[in-house]
């Protein structure tokens, strides 16, 4: 399969379709689930899909080692290339990694201000034309309203979309009647998209809790393939 075709017909198109064509620039989206369900894999797949389509992505991580994140990208790329029988995979790989930067913050108590200073430096001085920023492991549920405002300002000023993963603590995290995780109840007004990941039977399923203005629960007809850790059609 050639790259253009892969971009046209992938499970990520289904993903975008179910959130009204995608998160969109200037917006904030969240993937929430308890630990160990596959949020990082999903974020990396979302990022890789953007890279395939020629976009620029910054992956912000906390506490994990950079090498570890790079191997996530390598694995997800390999799985996609294998599954879709991608032509010129090596060239495409070399080309798209130029558009990806990983920024790791591993000191305790890194403030959102420090992260924003570094991100802005990357986009301005580093001349990196980011389209999306992935925040993996940032404790969004503990962010102050002020921090939230700074993130929203970043999204709109820099005209980028921000994707966050949010870990829900415990074996059985609680949700309200609208399907919103309890820890995010106060936050949800600041989010444009909220998706939860849950085990149902053998698979991890995706559910849209908030889709821009729409707050109706929707199933995405997507699952996480436990073998490849790729987002796949149900």
């Amino acid at each position: 399969m050639v790259r253009a075709e892969l971009n046209k017909r992938g499970p990520l198109r289904v993903f975008e379709k179910s959130i009204n064509g995608g998160l969109g620039k200037g917006h904030i989206g969240v993937l929430a689930s308890k630990k160990g369900v596959g949020k990082t894999a999903c974020l990396v797949h979302i990022a890789t899909d953007k890279l395939f389509r020629g976009r620029h992505v910054i992956h912000v991580s906390f506490s994990q080692k950079v090498d570890h994140i790079i191997s996530w990208y390598e694995d997800i790329f390999k799985e996609i290339a294998k599954k879709r029988d991608l032509e010129d995979a090596i060239d495409i790989h070399d080309e798209i990694i130029k558009n990806r930067v990983i920024m790791n913050f591993n000191s305790q108590g890194t403030t959102i201000d420090q992260v924003l200073v570094s991100l802005r430096a990357m986009m301005t001085e580093g001349n990196f034309p980011a389209d999306s920023v992935i925040f993996d492991g940032y404790k969004l549920s503990e962010a102050s309203p002020d921090d939230m405002n700074k993130l929203k300002t970043l999204a709109s000023d820099a005209d980028i979309e921000l994707w966050f993963s949010v870990s829900l603590n415990g074996e059985n995290p609680t949700f309200n009647e609208k399907g919103i995780p309890t820890v995010l109840e106060d936050r949800v007004k600041d989010l444009d998209v909220l998706i939860t990941l849950k085990f149902e039977g053998d698979y991890v399923h995706f559910q849209v809790i908030k889709d821009h203005e729409n707050m109706e629960l929707k199933d995405m007809s997507l699952k996480l393939d436990p073998k490849t850790m790729l987002i796949a059609r149900e």
Partner: protein, 696 residues
């Protein structure tokens, strides 16, 4: 006379370039009664400080090579390794740190913790070197030693504890308050050699008492006895010294001294602290590798009865021949005894054994375990391990980074050529990061090193010390050429006009090869090319790869398949088929969309986070790709892939972009395609060069 090993110290004095390290060393030597006058680093009398033995260093006012000097202070034998403070010479620092047992970190009371302090401190941590700090230049305008102490805590993560306080600062800096004895110490006389101890001036008493409390608080955790004594209010000086020593040795504590070496204040008190708190050789664990036993680690014992183990850590070319500085770890090396070099596997006899005082030397008959001495005329390289016959140990290998830059050098005349060879031979032995070879392609002598300044210094040393005038080329990048498309070929080589003729036809295709440089496949069936001529075809193609037609660099990554051809009963020969293959390649190569490849380096830059934007920008300007950045609070690092050709001058740029507070390293990663614009420039350049050459 046997020395008491508990009274032996091997220390380094390490610091940022302008913090006054050389002046401090000079004062230490003076007070230890070994030298009789004091010279400044940039002295008006033109004599220069004693430690800077190399002329070049005198001129630049910096210390490049580390020389070992032995002094005696109040019955203690102190070996001082003067370490360089420049980023391009970190290998020298690291090598010195390898043989040290403790170090004095010199800081400027005005500038505080600077880039090189950060780098050097990190290196010291790596080698587990216990440290004490000396805040120098307290006589300078803007001096603030307490601020610098806070920086030690914040920027370097030291548990820094003031054990002294200044009496007056800037032009009123008169002396120090010793917080252990709670006395004021003044340094009188023209050279500060007369020490006057008095009661603490009343206006400073409150502050001194407060700081003493702080000190006791911090150090009591290292000594239960002191903790008890504090509660019973029966603290003694010995208990404090003991706790400070324990804390320092465990690297959990950094005692901070202060003064002004230039104004002769506080140096003797620093020497006291050095002898009191820094370890003696028996208190440090040193490890050797047993080469006969899978390089198993062996803990060396600093005792005389054990077989000799010593490390050659520094080579110097003196007027009497090669001087090899050694650190003895185990046993005792005597004049006339036999040693074995475990790298070269050669035995040698210990001839002259000396102790160095910078440029002067003293003959000794024995170098004991723990001591630093020098040998004369021993053929070896730095980093070699010397042992007693029968042992086969190697000291843990020192971390040697790979060279990152190369430069062609050419002697100006015949005499210079001989001297250059001598100098290169010497430098490569002295410095493992400096390498040299003759490039087969250009027949030029190439030198490689850790940075442009690194190579510059060697070029200057060649001129000054070896009278070898050389011309240097531009820093060079090794380009490659490659094909990017599969193409067919069908080529006939024919020369059949009169005499014995030549005939051969080869047909097949070229295709890019991702793994490896060259592959040749013959799919000739039915003898269209007779089997005996196939190797000639291979040879013809292979020889075509040495010089590409774009810019004259070697071609890599080509697979050649031949599947058809034709021969002539009389006129075909090896020669004819080799020519046919070369012709076929020349013709096919031009159509195979050849591209230029350049070495791409993996570059790691580390520095204070405040300069992150500048670093990102400089990578972007150099066609670099930022792979990742890691933010560790005030310090951060960036990993990037940058073409080598864009990295020339980077150390200078980085230094100016970050006030010298960042450092970088790079290593070869892969060959990558040169972008169109630059590729065109290179081709035009090459064509012009060829036109000029053919025009001659």
């Amino acid at each position: 006379m046997k020395t008491d090993i508990s009274k032996m110290r091997n220390i380094g004095i390490s610091a940022h370039i302008d913090s006054g390290k050389t002046t401090l060393t000079e004062r230490i030597l003076f007070y230890c009664k070994r030298i009789h006058s004091i010279h400044e680093v940039r002295g008006k009398d033109g004599v220069g400080a004693t430690m800077d033995s190399m002329e070049l260093e005198k001129e630049r006012g910096i210390t490049i090579a580390s020389a070992a000097t032995s002094v005696n202070w109040k019955g203690y034998d102190i070996n001082i390794i003067d370490t360089p403070g420049h980023v391009d010479f970190t290998i020298e620092v690291e090598r010195a740190l390898r043989v040290l047992d403790g170090a004095v970190l010199v800081l400027c009371s005005v500038a505080g913790v600077q880039s090189q302090s950060i780098t050097v401190d990190r290196q010291m941590k790596r080698y587990n070197v216990p440290r004490i700090a000396f805040i120098n230049k307290c006589d300078r305008t803007g001096a603030d030693p307490l601020k610098v102490k806070d920086q030690l805590v914040e920027k370097l993560g030291h548990n820094a504890v003031m054990i002294q306080l200044p009496i007056g600062l800037e032009d009123k800096h008169e002396g120090i308050i010793d917080l252990v004895t709670m006395k004021a110490v003044y340094f009188r006389g023209p050279d500060g050699e007369d020490i006057e101890i008095t009661d603490i001036p009343t206006d400073l008493l409150d502050e001194a008492e407060g700081k003493r409390e702080e000190m006791l608080d911090s150090i009591s955790m290292f000594s239960d006895e002191l903790m008890e004594a504090i509660m019973e209010e029966s603290v003694t000086e010995d208990l404090i010294h003991d706790a400070l020593r324990k804390g320092t040795l465990s690297q959990g504590l950094t005692p901070v001294c202060l003064g002004s070496a230039y104004k002769n204040k506080g140096v003797q008190a620093l020497l006291d602290a050095t002898t009191k708190y820094l370890p003696n050789p028996t208190e440090i664990e040193n490890i050797a590798l047993d080469l006969d036993n899978d390089e198993n680690e062996i803990i060396l014992e600093s005792v005389e009865s054990k077989p000799n183990v010593a490390l050659a850590f520094k080579l110097e070319d003196g007027q009497y021949g090669q001087l090899t500085y050694i650190r003895v770890y185990q046993g005792s090396i005597k004049k006339g005894s036999e040693l074995y070099n475990t790298r070269s596997r050669k035995k040698f006899k210990v001839g002259r054994l000396i102790k160095m005082h910078s440029d002067h030397m003293e003959d000794i008959i024995e170098a004991e375990h723990g001591d630093i001495a020098a040998l004369f005329g021993v053929e070896c390289a730095s980093g070699d391990t010397f042992v007693q016959t029968g042992l086969n140990y190697s000291m843990t290998s020192m971390f040697v980074p790979a060279p990152v830059i190369s430069l062609s050098i050419a002697p100006k005349d015949k005499k210079a050529a001989d001297n250059m060879a001598k100098a290169l031979n010497r430098f490569t032995k002295e410095d493992p990061t400096f390498r040299t070879f003759v490039d087969k392609e250009s027949n030029q002598t190439i030198i490689q090193g850790m940075g442009e300044l690194h190579l510059e210094v060697y070029v200057e040393r060649m001129k000054r010390e070896y009278a070898a005038e050389v011309e240097i080329g531009k820093p060079q990048v090794a380009y490659r050429e490659a094909i990017s498309k599969m193409v067919d070929f069908n080529y006939t080589h024919k020369k059949q006009t009169g005499g014995s003729g030549q005939f051969g036809r080869v047909a097949g295709f070229l295709e890019p090869l991702t793994e490896g440089d060259y592959e040749f496949v013959s799919k000739i069936k039915g003898g269209s090319i007779p089997t005996e001529y196939i190797p000639a075809c291979n040879k013809g193609f292979k020889s075509s790869l040495t010089k590409g037609s774009l810019i004259g660099f070697p071609i890599v990554g080509v697979k050649v398949t031949i599947n058809d051809g034709q021969s002539h009963a009389v006129d075909s020969s090896d020669m004819a088929f080799q020519s046919a293959a070369m012709g076929a390649f020349r013709d096919a190569y031009a159509r195979a969309k050849p591209v230029i490849l350049e070495p791409i380096m993996r570059v790691s830059i580390e520095g204070p986070t405040e300069f992150q934007g500048n670093v990102f920008g400089s990578i972007n300007q150099r066609r670099g790709i930022i792979i990742s950045s890691a933010d560790e609070g005030t310090f951060s690092s960036v990993d990037a892939e940058v073409p080598l050709s864009e990295m020339f001058g980077f150390s200078t740029t980085l230094r100016s972009l970050t006030q010298g507070k960042a450092e970088f390293s790079m290593e070869f990663l892969k060959y990558g395609k040169v972008p169109k614009g630059i590729s065109d420039e290179l081709i035009t350049e090459y064509e012009e060069k060829r036109r000029k050459e053919s025009g001659k």
